[in-house]
């Protein structure tokens, strides 16, 4: 039987004023992120890096491109992270680099998810010939090798931040589009969508009011995933010299490190910090996504809560129903 006892009061407390939309459920992902320990740390890392980029003028005042001293000086009293092969303050470069790197990452994610969601939902909801065509396009973009396409596009288009974002979004949207299409297909078959059709709702309303809200978790998760892709790939492109070299980003820092033979010279302070921050931002974003996994797979959350409830008792691993006698 599918019937469950109705709680005598709502589980999370009664809504305070009349609401149309279940905001608690819509923003479930936010509450998960805050409660999941790994996701919390990930969030902290990402927010810290964003703040670092935003407040760069305060943390490392001045123009990071400015020539400040002898190239390749070791970190010391005057320069916390030393000087790079072009004579610039490495610390400033690393701090200011966050701006462009993160901006490209999130920009890619925003544009990429916009395309992915639009294409995925249209393909999934309308089906038929439209779906076949869109799936073909999706598969095309999936099959084309990413990096060569990136290099090709970046080499032909005038290098700039916008170009990079555009290029990365174009090569990366198909992955999430497939997932969104699959979920749309399954949500379309739900009874409440059928009920909406029967009530006379038009397609657009159904897509935005019935289907989209159930995919917010997926879209946020996809956004975070694409951000990692954006940051890492733009760094790779910059390292190859295919972006605007006048920008200060972690990728360009690494380019100049390579150009200035920093590895050979043992000038670790030139490439380690930028590389480390790229890895750190990817780590932080990935950990946030681990928390998001709990939404797509509620069992994970149930298991985590169960372990919490059973903490202290010896019931964690048993093969038979445990017996703990109490007085009755």
């Amino acid at each position: 039987m599918a019937e469950q006892p109705a709680p005598t009061q709502p589980i999370l407390g009664a809504p305070q004023k009349p609401q149309r939309v279940d905001w608690r459920r819509r923003f479930q992902w936010a509450s998960i992120i805050i409660s999941h320990p790994q996701a919390r740390i990930g969030l902290f890392i990402v927010v810290a890096l964003i703040l670092m980029g935003v407040f760069a003028p305060l943390i490392a005042p001045g123009d990071p491109n400015e020539f400040v001293g002898m190239p390749n000086q070791k970190p010391g009293d005057e320069f916390i992270l030393g000087v790079d092969p072009l004579g610039r303050n490495e610390f400033a470069l690393v701090v200011w680099g966050a701006r462009v790197s993160l901006a490209i990452g999130f920009g890619t994610a925003a544009l990429g998810m916009l395309i992915a969601t639009t294409v995925g939902m249209i393909a999934g909801y309308f089906g038929g010939l439209l779906d076949d065509i869109l799936v073909l396009i999706m598969n095309l973009f999936l099959v084309i090798p990413g990096l060569p396409l990136l290099i090709l596009l970046a080499a032909y288009l005038r290098p700039s931040t916008a170009t990079v974002i555009f290029t990365l979004a174009i090569t990366g949207w198909a992955f999430n589009a497939r997932i969104i299409r699959a979920v749309t297909l399954s949500l379309r078959e739900k009874d409440y969508v059928a009920a909406a059709i029967v009530a006379g709702e038009d397609n657009l309303t159904i897509i935005f009011r019935q289907i989209l809200p159930n995919m917010i978790n997926l879209i946020v998760g996809g956004f975070i995933g694409m951000s990692i892709y954006g940051i890492a790939s733009s760094t790779a492109l910059a390292f190859l010299g295919l972006t605007n070299m006048e920008d200060v980003s972690w990728g360009t820092n690494l380019f100049y490190a390579q150009n200035g033979n920093s590895l050979l010279l043992g000038a670790w302070w030139v490439f380690v910090p930028s590389g480390f921050l790229v890895a750190l931002s990817a780590l932080g974003l990935a950990w946030i996504n681990f928390g998001m996994d709990e939404i797509t797979n509620p069992r994970l959350r149930a298991e985590r809560e169960l372990r919490k409830a059973l903490k202290g008792t010896k019931l964690e691993r048993v093969r038979a129903t445990p017996v703990i006698r109490r007085g009755h």
């Binding site: 599918a2 006892p5 919490k308 409830a309 059973l310 129903t321 703990i324 006698r325 009755h328």
Partner: protein, 347 residues
């Protein structure tokens, strides 16, 4: 089916559940899923446990086999199977005491008590042939050769009326009814003395349902095992059980021979339940069902758990828990002070 009005004599009792309490630990507090339930099943008897969702019947079934996983915990009572408390069994066999056998849980499960679950697809591994699934079980328990185990599997298929040539099929190659019969064959593989059936036919068509239950009846007469039959379909249960226990919100509220429950229900919940089943013959009378819905078992209603929905009992008893008593010979009801009882009944 024979109606059995006399209480089961002691030595013929296969299962004796005494005062069983089971809880589920949740972050919001413990759920009192089974609240002091006692009943017995005799040799060769079909005992039906009826109730709606959340009443605890499935919990009891799984607890008998000790297959409920945490956060479920047994917090009191005894489950005596052939005199041995199942709740005391462990992973190793203990020395026999007083001439009573003492099994390990592994020896107990399936060889003494086995279970048929609601959906056959839950019990059958979709990527393993049926024959292999039976052979694995038999070889493990009986220490026989695979050839002998295969013979046993063929024998079982005969018993449940499936063509022996389908032995090597995968579950998805069989129809729904055949799958359920294969599951029954697996449950009977080791000649258990007690077969628990948890909603065995709910997912099946009514014709297949009757076919399978008839089969089980015949098997039971041949092989002599007892059955604990769990379902929410009271009309089905009345036809196939000897005695019936009605559960509500973790409590056993009435227990009597099947015909008695149907012709003379005493507890208001049973009476309400019987007004929920329209019939295909007889006069068409308006039926009402029971207003309201089952309670939240984290904070169940005090005293009689049915009182918020009960229309019979005035004044409403909300303090003392009802006592489960034999108000007529063989007919037990959870009574509390002030409850209307038929004449001749001891209140």
């Amino acid at each position: 089916m024979d109606t059995n009005t006399a209480p089961t004599p002691k030595k013929d009792v296969v299962l004796d559940i005494r005062d069983l309490y089971v809880e589920y630990l949740t972050p919001r507090g413990p759920v009192q899923a089974v609240d002091g339930v006692s009943f017995t099943i005799g040799r060769g008897e079909v005992f039906g446990l009826a109730g709606e969702s959340g009443c605890g019947k499935s919990t009891i079934a799984h607890t008998i086999l000790r297959v409920l996983r945490p956060p479920a915990v047994v917090t009191g009572g005894q489950i005596l199977y052939k005199g041995v408390d199942v709740l005391e069994l462990g992973d190793e066999a203990r020395p026999a005491v007083d001439g009573k056998p003492s099994w390990s849980l592994e020896a107990f499960r399936w060889a003494e008590v086995s279970m048929v679950f609601q959906s056959a697809m839950n019990s059958l591994n979709p990527v393993v042939r049926i024959s292999d699934q039976i052979i694995d079980t038999v070889v493990k328990h009986w220490k026989v050769t695979p050839k002998q185990a295969r013979d046993r599997a063929a024998e079982l298929f005969d018993i449940v009326n499936i063509d022996k040539r389908r032995l090597d099929a995968y579950p998805h190659e069989l129809s729904g009814g055949m799958r359920q019969r294969a599951v029954i064959a697996m449950a009977l593989a080791l000649k258990p003395s007690l077969l628990i059936m948890d909603e065995p036919t709910t997912a099946l068509d009514v014709v297949v349902q009757r076919d399978i239950l008839q089969q089980i009846e015949q098997l039971q007469e041949q092989l002599g095992f007892s059955i604990l039959f769990i379902t929410h379909d009271l009309s089905l249960m009345v036809e196939f059980s000897d005695r019936i226990g009605i559960m509500y919100a973790g409590d056993l509220v009435e227990m009597a021979p099947a015909s008695e429950i149907f012709s003379n229900p005493i507890h208001p919940y049973t009476q309400g339940l019987l007004t929920s089943f329209p019939s295909i013959t007889g006069e068409r009378r308006p039926l009402t069902g029971i207003p309201g819905s089952p309670p939240n078992l984290i904070t169940p209603p005090p005293g009689c758990r049915f009182h918020p929905r009960c229309t019979k009992c005035q004044p409403v008893e909300t303090v003392a828990a009802p006592r489960f008593e034999e108000v007529l010979p063989g007919h037990w009801v959870a009574v509390h002070a002030g409850m209307p009882l038929p004449t001749g009944a001891k209140g």
